[in-house]
Amino acid sequence: MSEGVHHNTETTGKQVCLSTGIEFSVSSGSTAARSALEQIISALQPLKLDIEETSTVEIVLAEVVNNIVEHSYGDLEGPITIRFSHHHDGLHVAITDQGCVMPDGRTPIGQLQPRDVDVDDLPEGGFGWFLIQDLAKDVLYQRVGNENQLHLRIAVAYGHSH
């Protein structure tokens, strides 16, 4: 019985957190995305996302974090902070890092490269920003001081009330 009560308290606590916001940081590196996704998916459990929604969240955030690791920090160490909250129109996410500014100070357009080419010329990269732009809404990038701030919305658990 006491276990049940404890569990309920925990669930309620997380739901309150989800609407007001949850924040955590990971260090840049090859396992940064894995570690970030593990924490996010676990925190999102109260929303009971289906496989489709979960994979959307995972793909978008994996691509954002991987881009920061590869292009913003490069070989350097640095923190990647992820803040997210859930609202009636989905999951709002803010990702910040202190690496390099994006080329031309804006996010890549994320266009697909042609696929009707010789096997040797098929693209091995350039999918990341396409996936982000395709799956996320309201993508906004700004450089503030020495910080990159990326805001986006993922339209999952629409209309879900806390």
Partner: protein, 109 residues
């Protein structure tokens, strides 16, 4: 990167025994598949039944593998789980690879 390689008739079947092909393992994946398919004949089937997540690095690694095997050998994908299928579909890379729902389907062709 855990892979199981075996020969089934004319096919070299490479089963990925990991849940994710992402940035953390993309390079290891490419190397492991190259090593595992050194003696492969004309067709290589990549069995992705156990993979439940792939990111753009993983997708790039699979494309690189296809290029490495070409032109003598063809890369066929089998057992795409929903999240993996989604990445191939969204990037339209599903049009580049022959893909089959199950390993059995791939081997029947």
């Amino acid at each position: 990167m855990e892979l199981a390689v075996k020969t089934e008739g004319d096919f070299c079947v490479v089963t990925v025994e990991e849940p994710r092909i992402d940035a953390a393992v993309a390079v290891a994946f490419k190397e492991a598949v190259r090593n595992g398919t050194q003696n492969a004949e004309s067709q290589v089937v990549l069995n992705l039944t156990q993979v439940n997540f792939i990111d753009s690095s993983g997708l790039g690694a699979i494309v690189a593998t296809m290029k490495h095997l070409a032109p003598e050998r063809k890369l066929i994908l089998a057992g795409l789980t929903p999240a993996v299928d989604k990445v191939f579909r969204l990037t339209r890379m599903d049009s580049v690879f022959p893909t089959y729902m199950t390993l059995e389907d791939a081997l029947r062709v």
